[in-house]
Subunit: 377 residues, 5 copies
């Protein structure tokens, strides 16, 4: 994801087939088949990982147990009633049986489980009896394709547990894991709501990376626009606009989610954690603000581009007009003395030829002078 | 409704007469004659089915009676007071006598009956004494005409019955029927409000199909736009924009209907069903969101199109300018030596002809060099 | 107002003087002179009828008295205190003395009377002690001028009377009169609020007629746009946009009026009538919705038009460029052999002339081939 | 301010220096120097009158005393406690000492006095202990410059007095003075709040004059646009748009002021006066509505203008293309027979010359026919 | 920051590299690294000053102690509990240890300290137990680069102290210092909330300076646009639009901050100070209003620019068309008599040559006449 060189920022000329895939994002194929019974747990997205991987943390201020690649999901069932904070992270959503088993044990509503595997949801917050269900969008910058990719992350926050469901193992949550392991910050001293906050915060923090990348590309395009706009510049402007649409779609509903967590009265979120949710809400608003400003800037660049194309056409016209205006009259003059009339006195005068040249030079000078006065030259 | 091939996605060149019919949708001819007394039950739409068909389900957890093609509407009157859940579905709205008879027996307000047969209503929710009246839009993708067609569906939800009125027998509700027959899911265990939810959910689920289709066509147009924009591309962009307007018109007011069902305090909707209405509300918001995003994308494509037309004009101009700039000076030069002056020393020199060629080659080279410097070549 | 033929739909080429009058509508000359004392009853509109005509209905379920062309306004004063429902309709507003006499007897606020004769008000609802004052816009389609004309209608609703003031005798209310005479529907059984509802409903119903007409013209323009856009097409698009602005201006504030009547707590409106006001509110929203959709469609047509003009310019350019590209080189070639050099060996060879033709045919073929490759041919 | 002739409506070609002054209005130079202590009373506007003039009315239903050019401001101090209604009008704001003296005696907040002399405020309403402070914009149509000029008017409404501060003596208030003098209308029978209403009403009434003037100019430009758009038409459209911005800026915040006066619960405004404030609020909304509609119309005219420029370019191109298409081939043909080959059989045939003419006429006819088929002719 | 001459207002032609830096402002690089623990105090901006400088004021109505360049931060700790008003100003944010020490002593929330050093925050107001945290944007006009630069200012308002944190020592606060020193105005008599007000007021006052500068540049560009639009004019319009975006981004959220301070119920803000916050809120709204109006004006100028480019292209076309239309037919005519047919009777007639001239003059006159009728000449 690092930028190796400035050149790396410049997307290759658009491969139409790839573009199509990009557009496909906007119409999330969310359903298996219209008419499926509500609450049916059917995974709808692309299978992004080979194998579903379950990993858990179970910790309090003193102890911390980490399990990777839990094979037997039922071994986690005891954690529901333990006083420690439990974080179960599931990467990959196609093993619906596993998710259903979990859901039944923890008493999640079938619609919640349906939404967990039904990727392409808008970010939302649902309060249920005993737990909160939160849907987020994880944005990833796909370096070689210069596009933003969206993954669904679901969080279920209970009194002493957090479940997180990801389409694939992203590295957004790695920093949280590290802090739990090393007991850095306050995470080990707080309860589950703080853990949920940290996961959301890690997700939102990543939006800044995306925006920075989009901002850099916008700068590249602007440089190109000012120096030498190409026919493909307008396509790149179109592309960046669409990536900004993806970002906006992810963040716009997120604001409501976060202000719900901040202002809501759920007993699952303690007073001291609320201030953190307010903080992450401010970040989301800031990202949105920046994305909207970038859209305004890009919109202005489209106008500049259109103006420049018109100016260029005008320049081309001027070249043609000057060429034609200078040489067409001259061609006429020489044509006159190419006529074969018997009685053309000029033709027989020895001063005829030089005189014609003098006239032609005079005409040319006059025309050029006129163009200079028009400031075409 | 299946897509047979990619080619099938490409609408034929626009048949203007058909287009007109498309536009006609926006101005729904809703009234028979201004000045008709309110509460007059007059069917206003096109008669889309030959014969009105009435079919019923009457079920509880144990039993389920299905009747197709009920001839005698009065045979259904007893069901009003039975404890079982009754679903009466009526396809075709032109038999206003039948509908009025039903309405009188069940005590529906004359304005409700008027709206049922008065197709072209905006989606809305009306709370009446003892029942709820819900108007929805059913969207259908008409494959060969590449357009979205709108049908009005009315639902009347009472304590133990649901009436549904359709302009024609669509297949949106078929999946619901199947689930009732097979006692799949929770439908047989729940009361009438859950049945109403299922019907609304089936309708909203179908919007995703429409959007997916529109998304595919948008992708086709974008491909065309990037590879080789045609004069008709702008017309197709215009067309897709209009289909998106149809979708928006159907869903925008639906959101309010669904949030009314979710948040309202009607005793007809039980607490446990409310969560399902919230779910279908989320779906509607998501459809709307996607439709708006598609409109933004299509709007951007119009800009790209306009820019490309300008660029093409510029290219055409350059070809002309270069042609003219190269040959007009040459024509002038040869014109000079076509003059018939007696005293033109060059004409009599043996080096004259080759020298002119040399000059002409030089001039041409100079001009071409200048164009290369301007990066026209 | 009937459409005699399709041709009738096409407005004649714009007569600028008429256009001006159309624009004049937007700046309603509402005041006589700034600085007139508030509450001064001065008629401000154009005098649209020769003579003010007063007509009344006085009815209850059993009896119904209709008076046309009441000469002596004072004969109506007793009706104020009779238990029957009284409807006084006044066509023409320039007899301010008559209106003032009425107002004093019934105790209307001077500002109300001022607004009644001060045409050009926005639709509004004012609650006064003992009566409601409602301002509406009546829209009329002026067939031969293809424009929407706006008239002000004022309604004053008291406990047992309705006053209606019209600028001229429209036929919107005729259907209401007919229903009272024939005791059709519920009007004779209800009190004055239902009568007011019927008058408003008749007005709103007429908006659908206007919109249908505008929709038809839009379709005509679209047909023209697709088949062969003319220079006047843009002017017609501009015109239709403006007519839609007139419609929007009439309906936008009307929504608030109607939702005020529906939700308000005025004792003058009974509970059973409220549902009717909700119904007419729904109609107004639907008209507004349709008008906005039409504006979106027309806005898109402007874009299509601009694109088509650009495409046409491009086509023209291509014709010129091809003509020039083919013949300018040929003209150069023949110019070469028109030179009068003594030593031009080709001129004296017998193969010279055919060879030049061969070269010219070759050059032409090459150029045409190049254009075909560019897909200009 | 009268329109002498139609020609008078047409602004002269834009004088750039004047334009600049026009733009300068948008950035009101509101501050003397950033960092001045709050509550410092420093006049910031242009000194629009030579000498500050103070004039007063002191009246009740029976008596009325008018003083013009009050020299000694302290002579007015007694009026504060008299039961009569007092109106003190001050034209010119640069005598800050006078205003401060007044303010101290009447107990106005320093920030109020600062705002009075600090011209360029947005219209606003401030409730203070014992008085209301109202800022309005007075719009003036400057006839010879065809622009809208904005003056600040401050009103301070106390229990029995009204202060009005104007930048210069406008004639908006003259009609109010006349009515007080002649005891016309209700003004002499009412208390100070009604006087304040009359002053505001006089100001708002004047907006209609401005809009009417702008409407007339818009009509002139539209006429010009339809008949023969000039290069300066776009500049005039730009100018009218900006004048509409000035109007909107004055009225938009005024609405809130007036609805505050209408709905607020200040004891300074009696119940019976509130209905008058509602009336003037309706007028303000109507002015705003009209200004917005005019902007929409002007926006549409810009589109029409751009389309017409494109159409004109296309027409120009067609002329060129037809000229070139007809004569370039002919020039080629005559060039062919201008060649000097020895062996050109046609040259020696007696039918050669007429045959060439026949060919040329044929070619020309063919080309013209083609153009007619393309409907260029 | 003074304007030396009119020329100084004209930005130099755009240096693309500088432009890029300008754009960079929109994507504030707010984070060090995603995944940093919340509450970590890491400075994120550019280090704008060499050395962090701490200066304090400690005053009441009688006494006033000013300290510049406080080296030992702990010496300030006693002031927390003293009854005097304390103002601690810190210029430069990179000494996070110092800020953390302060924060711990005064009991500020870690997130507050994080935001203080984490520059690029949106303006916001946070109520905490015992203090208010306010973030503002300070705008600076960078004269030689013609751009608006944004600095973050944080204020912490406690019962008897104000902390202000600036990225660098601006001169916005100098006037406040001067007034404290000289006991001018009310500042020494009021408590800390009034001091906070004065700091905010000084910041907002400075926005007027920025806007005035932007207004002047807009006027310059408009002058250029009307007299002679250059290809760079569109770029300058784009640039001014972006600077206005920066201003809007700073002020839009500020409005909410100020209305929060005005309406909120924090015990830290006394009733008498609230009116001052209302005043500064009005100023902020006015700045925003002006910025939006300027954007509208600039948006209109872009339209004018595009129209002018089109008009210019049209003019160029006309020159070309007239040149070609006059000379191409003449060239054809002379070409006819350059043909070498043996049998061309005209060639041998003595009237031939003058007759051709007569024909050519006639043709030219005809063409010019036609152009005059088309009003091209």
């Amino acid at each position: 994801m690092a930028i190796n060189s400035v050149l790396d920022l410049v997307p290759k000329p658009l491969n139409p087939v790839r573009r199509l895939r990009v557009l496909g994002r906007f119409v999330r194929k969310q359903f298996t088949k219209p008419g499926t019974a509500p609450g049916t747990i059917v995974h709808t997205g692309v299978r992004k990982v080979e194998k579903v991987r379950v990993s858990t943390f179970d910790f309090d201020e003193m102890t911390c147990t980490e399990l990777k690649d839990v094979e037997d999901i039922e071994s986690l069932f005891d954690l529901r009633d333990s006083p420690t904070v439990t974080w179960v992270n599931i990467d990959g959503l196609h093993d619906t049986a596993l998710i259903e088993k979990l859901g039944v044990h923890y008493g999640f509503h079938p619609l919640v489980l349906e939404d967990v595997v039904h990727v392409g949801q808008r970010p939302k917050l649902e309060e249920h009896e005993g737990y909160l269900y939160i849907v987020l969008s994880q944005l990833e910058w796909e370096g070689d394709q210069h596009m933003v990719v969206e993954d669904q992350v679901s969080l279920i926050l209970g009194p002493n547990y957090v479940f997180s469901f990801q389409e694939q193992a992203g590295d957004d949550f790695e920093s949280v894991r590290e802090r739990i392991r090393q007991a850095k910050g306050k995470v080990r001293k707080q309860s589950a709501d703080y853990l949920a906050y940290m996961l959301i915060d890690a997700t939102v923090d990543n939006y800044f990376v995306i925006l920075e990348r989009l901002g850099e590309i916008t700068e590249q395009i602007e440089l190109e626009l000012l120096e030498d706009p190409l026919p493909t510049t307008i396509q790149r402007l179109h592309q960046i606009k669409r990536e900004l649409l993806v970002v906006r779609r992810a963040i716009w509903p997120l604001r409501d989610v976060l202000s719900g967590l901040n202002r809501g009265d759920s007993p699952l979120i303690s007073e001291s954690t609320r201030v953190y949710f307010r903080d992450v809400h401010d970040h989301a608003v800031q990202v949105l603000d920046t994305a909207e400003t970038l859209r305004d800037v890009v919109g202005g660049m489209v106008e500049v581009y259109l103006a420049q194309v018109s100016i260029k056409t005008n320049e081309t016209m001027k070249v043609l007009t000057m060429m034609a205006s200078v040489f067409i009259p001259l061609t006429f003059i020489v044509g006159v003395y190419g006529m074969n009339f018997e009685f053309m006195p000029e033709l027989h005068a020895s001063w005829g030829y030089p005189a014609v040249w003098a006239v032609m030079i005079g005409v040319t000078a006059g025309i050029l002078l006129w163009f200079r006065r028009q400031r075409w030259l």
